[in-house]
Subunit: 183 residues, 2 copies
DNA sequence: GACACACTAGTCAGAGTTGACTAGTGTTGC
DNA sequence: GCAACACTAGTCAACTCTGACTAGTGTGTC
């Protein structure tokens, strides 16, 4: 859920004003359905939810020449706070979908802050890897079902791969790649 | 959902007879919550669902000396068919959680069949990796948000890591590790 | 000019999931 | 001997997600 919320807030914030379908189309043009489980109904649901919570407001209707009228949304102060909270949490998160959504919007933070968050992300990911390693040692029988030991290895591969990616990204930031807020 | 269903059917089948909490405890002893998103209420939900669908039956109550009476479940013919269908689908699935559940029960298939399925799994995983590579080439601007190119790289890492793991497992099977049905 | 087809812009019921809660049963310390 | 705590064995309401569907608007084409 927090992934869709971040994506919706991020798109509305970046565009200034947007209706549901515009958010939907923007996210689909980013192939969000490839790197998260976000699907159209979830997007509309998140928009309504954020509106009810006062994170988005509807300054008016856009009367479109073609198609039905569409409700325009704009981000509020409270929405901005939620956006930055979700963004920082996402860049720290070991969940690959949430993390991906954080990367998508990292440029609304200062470069230095993103590097700090990626460092935290790396520490968490490595800690999980170490925890899984330790957990593995507690199963005495690697040959018997459910092969929990091997399954833990399968997951360790995922976390190690993510850690490598995060390290690479941190180096790119250090090397001055990308443009950031307050650069 | 299919992950929980496979896990529940597999545990009931392996034990012959089981009540909800026994399934729950078995799965938790396997650390299923570490390598899937399966949580207790989902387990109870799946048990009831499978019962309604005739995949499980309740031959009787176990009157326990301590605690409330518990409903015992047993797998039906139809349940067996579902079990094997889910198991084969899981071993072929690129979804790491589903795949993990398949590995947990792979020994109820013949060794040869598991090797075939792992070969299919590898082909699918590599195909996804190739598709992501190709998709990446269609974004012209790697420096601009949402960094979709880099996010695709993040995911490719996951799939490549899974492919390596599957290759390793296939080699273990070829080397005669583990005991299988019909060995 | 009218028919098929694709695109826009969503909605909806039903299914699945979750955090929080309940309620009974040992059991340990004082 | 009893209060506090942990463990057993789940349930529940509220929330979220999903596949399938709707309905209006261009647009090409014969």
């Amino acid at each position: 859920m927090s992934t869709v919320r971040l994506l919706v807030l991020g798109v509305v914030r970046a565009r200034g004003e947007a209706h549901g379908y515009a958010v939907h189309r923007q996210l689909m043009s980013w192939r969000v359905d490839t790197w998260t489980a976000v699907k159209p109904p979830s997007i509309y649901h998140a928009v309504k939810q954020l509106d009810r919570e006062g994170k988005l407001v509807t300054p008016g209707l856009a009367t479109s020449p073609k198609g039905p009228n569409r409700v325009l949304y704009r981000i509020t102060e409270e929405g901005q706070r939620e956006y930055f909270a979700l963004l920082e949490a996402a860049l720290r998160s070991p969940d690959i979908e949430e993390f991906g959504a954080g990367i998508a919007f990292m440029q609304s933070l200062p470069r230095r802050r993103v590097r700090e968050l990626l460092t935290e992300q790396l520490a968490t990911t490595r800690q999980i890897d170490a925890d899984l390693e330790e957990m593995k040692a507690q199963w005495p029988d690697p040959g018997a079902p459910p092969h929990a030991q091997h399954l833990l290895e399968l997951w360790r591969g995922v976390f190690r791969s993510n850690a490598e990616w995060a390290m690479d990204m941190r180096e790119r930031l250090a090397a001055g790649e990308f443009c950031f807020a307050e650069d």
